[in-house]
């Protein structure tokens, strides 16, 4: 067990830092520090391509698909330097962190060759078609269905239904969609994991205006949308297992980058407290110290989780990490507002929010998406602790 980095790893850190600083003080200076998911989308798409050309888009992937075969330490370093450089939020993360690892693990060789190089080049953006109006926590209750029909270029899947809470759909080229392909099935049986192109007449996207006034999430309507027969990951009808695999990748290294952003937020809170005098309030000092403890703890948990990632059964932090960070971050938002005081509630005439107040509002979603706190507690109790199951209707 060791936290320190080797000389070679520190050299890698210097290389990463130098490249990021050069780009973000030069050609991409205009998008440095952007934390909003939706702002400056075109420029952030250019940024993805620049990362791709330099080989920084998906460093943990195998070299043959455009990665660097980076080990855990290198991925930790990259995430740290990325956040330290205040590089913009990744428009490509649904592909690189979720769709990509899923295809790497469950996909055919042809699918890997078709999709992975485009993702690691920053050329194709992705979104996730999971939740539906009637399938939130109860995800296996999806109603979107697809059937295999004859098309102009052979057999194709024809998709009907509605997805919701789809982040970044408006910028995505592809969507991974869970839908029912075996008529008459229920629950986890009969689902398939389809890869669907977004640029077609059968797909309609409507943004959902959320608590911050922005539209990070969308409704996506499939009305006769099509995708080729081969664009199914895993066997048709056995998509549930693939879908759950994708969720497990959500506990991957991207969490390290997220943590570094949290660290930047905490630093901004400390700076605000120092400048507005709240740093002299003992209760605020205690809360800031507590928040720092949580952040360090989270970092340690992420390293435990990732170090043990290859060992099969889920370890403790793999079960508990989501609820911990989400709850911690929500409290960070509350702390930020208490430090800022009334000045924190001031918005512009078009309801444009400063970073910390936006985080305060957005963090209410943290304990809902990717498994609500309530669902996390069920999973922890029933799977990790083996407690008796809740009777189901």
């Amino acid at each position: 067990m060791k936290l320190s980095f080797t000389v070679e790893q520190e050299a890698f850190r210097a290389e990463v830092a130098a490249w990021l600083d050069e780009q973000l003080s030069g050609p991409f200076a205009d998008i440095r520090g952007i934390t909003s998911q939706t702002a400056a989308a075109q420029r952030r798409q250019d940024w993805e391509k620049a990362l791709g050309v330099a080989g920084w888009c998906a460093i943990g992937w195998p070299k043959q698909y455009g990665g660097r075969d980076a080990d855990l330490a290198q991925q930790v370093i990259f995430a740290e330097e990325y956040a330290r450089a205040r590089a913009p939020g990744r428009l490509g993360h649904m592909g690189v962190e979720l769709a990509g690892p899923t295809i790497l693990h469950f996909g055919s060789e042809a699918q890997k060759e078709r999709f992975l190089p485009k993702m690691s080049a920053g050329e194709e953006m992705w979104c996730q078609g999971y939740s539906e109006p009637g399938a939130g926590s109860d995800l296996s209750n999806v109603r979107t269905r697809a059937s295999l029909e004859d098309g102009p270029n052979g057999k194709q899947w024809v998709i009907e239904g509605q997805k919701t809470w789809t982040s970044l759909a408006q910028f995505a080229d592809w969507c991974f969609v869970i839908c029912r392909t075996v008529p008459g099935t229920q629950g986890r049986d009969g689902l398939s994991y389809l890869l669907v192109p977004m640029d077609q007449s059968g797909v309609e996207i409507r943004p959902i205006r959320q608590i911050t006034g922005e539209g990070d999430f969308n409704e996506v309507f499939f009305d006769g949308a099509v995708t080729a027969e081969e664009n199914v990951v895993g066997e048709p009808g056995e998509g549930w297992q693939v879908a759950m695999g994708t969720l497990s990748f959500e506990r991957g290294v991207s969490t390290l980058a997220q943590q570094m952003n949290f660290s930047n937020e905490l630093t901004a809170i400390v700076d605000s407290a120092n400048s507005n005098g709240q740093a002299q309030n003992p209760m605020i000092r205690q809360r800031i110290a507590k928040s720092w403890r949580g952040l360090q703890t989270m970092r340690a948990s992420a390293l435990r989780m990732l170090s043990g990632a290859g060992t099969g059964a889920l370890s403790g932090p793999q079960y508990t990490y989501k609820i911990f960070w989400a709850t911690w971050h929500r409290e960070l938002g509350e702390l930020a507002m208490d430090v800022l005081g009334q000045a924190g509630e001031v918005v512009s005439s078009d309801y444009d929010l400063p970073d910390l107040p936006r985080m305060f509002l957005f963090s209410r979603a943290d304990t809902i998406y990717a498994g609500t706190n309530q669902i996390q507690r069920n999973l922890i109790a029933e799977r990790a602790l083996g407690m008796p199951k809740e009777p189901r209707g």
């Binding site: 067990m1 060791k2 936290l3 320190s4 980095f5 790893q9 855990l72 330490a73 930790v76 630093t267 400390v270 700076d271 407290a273 120092n274 400048s275 507005n276 005098g277 740093a279 002299q280 003992p282 000092r285 205690q286 800031i288 110290a289 507590k290 720092w292 403890r293 949580g294 360090q296 703890t297 989270m298 970092r299 340690a300 948990s301 390293l303 435990r304 990732l306 170090s307 043990g308 403790g316 932090p317 079960y319 508990t320 990490y321 609820i323 911990f324 309530q374 507690r377 069920n378 922890i380 109790a381 029933e382 990790a384 602790l385 083996g386 407690m387 008796p388 199951k389 809740e390 009777p391």
Partner: protein
Amino acid sequence: MQFEFTEEQTMISSMLEEFSQTQGTSERVRQAMESELGYLPEVWQSMAGELGLCGLLVPEAAGGQGLTMVEMALVFEQLGKTLLPSPMLATAVQSVALLTALGDQQTDLLTTIARGEVRTTVAVCQNGRAEYVLDVCSADVLLLVDSDRLFLVRADQPGVFSGLDVTPVHIMDQTRRMGQVVVKDEALISTCKIAEGDEVLKAVDVGLDMARIALGAEAVGAAQTCLSRTVEYASERVQFGREIGSFQAVKHQCADMMVAIEAAISAVFFAACAVSEDLAQSRSMAALAKVHASETLSFCSARMIQLHGGIGFTWEHDAHLYFKRARSTATMLGLNFDLDEVIAADIGLNPMGATT
């Protein structure tokens, strides 16, 4: 950078687990806590003798094993699981860390500690007295700190020191022993001075940091037992025709315990690594380990009582032992609130009283 236990570390942990579970049954722990000494001499003999736990942190040059706080934290996690009482924390962690930090000066004493021949403790005095000194009543050697001076006082017999008044202080947590130390013959004590100046202050801090991490590890071990026993009970106890553990009102509370425990495990071993590798902010890391684990044990032991219902309120059930251990953990080696202030001052907040 690898945040996984080595094979050797895993072996130490399983060895201690077996020892702690065998020696630390409820009956034996109660026998120890009701005894005058506060622990079972034969248990201490095994720990200090055949298991060689007192030499874990002692440098190899002084006859120890030269291991790190990571291994020591693994030991304390297992000892904490059963609350097995012993003078380990004062002797093998706080004293050894303090003495080792002084350099080569006290090699002989470190060697006798590593051999398990002496029990030592640290008393930090103010105006010639120290309250709540851990395990002082059974100590053979007392490291007495007064501002930046360090005195090494040897006992005439365990707990009896010429020039000092040592009085037992009985506390709510009967699995620990505390005593009060009053200097009554200053001239005599001053002949025992072994070091003075900044090096003493630094060494005392190192001893405190290491002890805080061990205390955190112990608390996180104890919290794991609170959870496992509560889950076991909730999975057996039937009310309204169902195991109570099938109700979300119960299982969600158990899930929250696990979330807190996993975080505390991370915090403790992160801190253990940080001090072993002498990383930046290791003082704050040690404070973090203690406070986080202490809060976790307070939370889990309180839930243990609540979820056991009436039985959890009885003297017969062990829940109160964990609840009381949580209390002494919260106040020992620095109050949690004070340690959070140590952190606050270290992470960029302006000092209290500073003008902006």
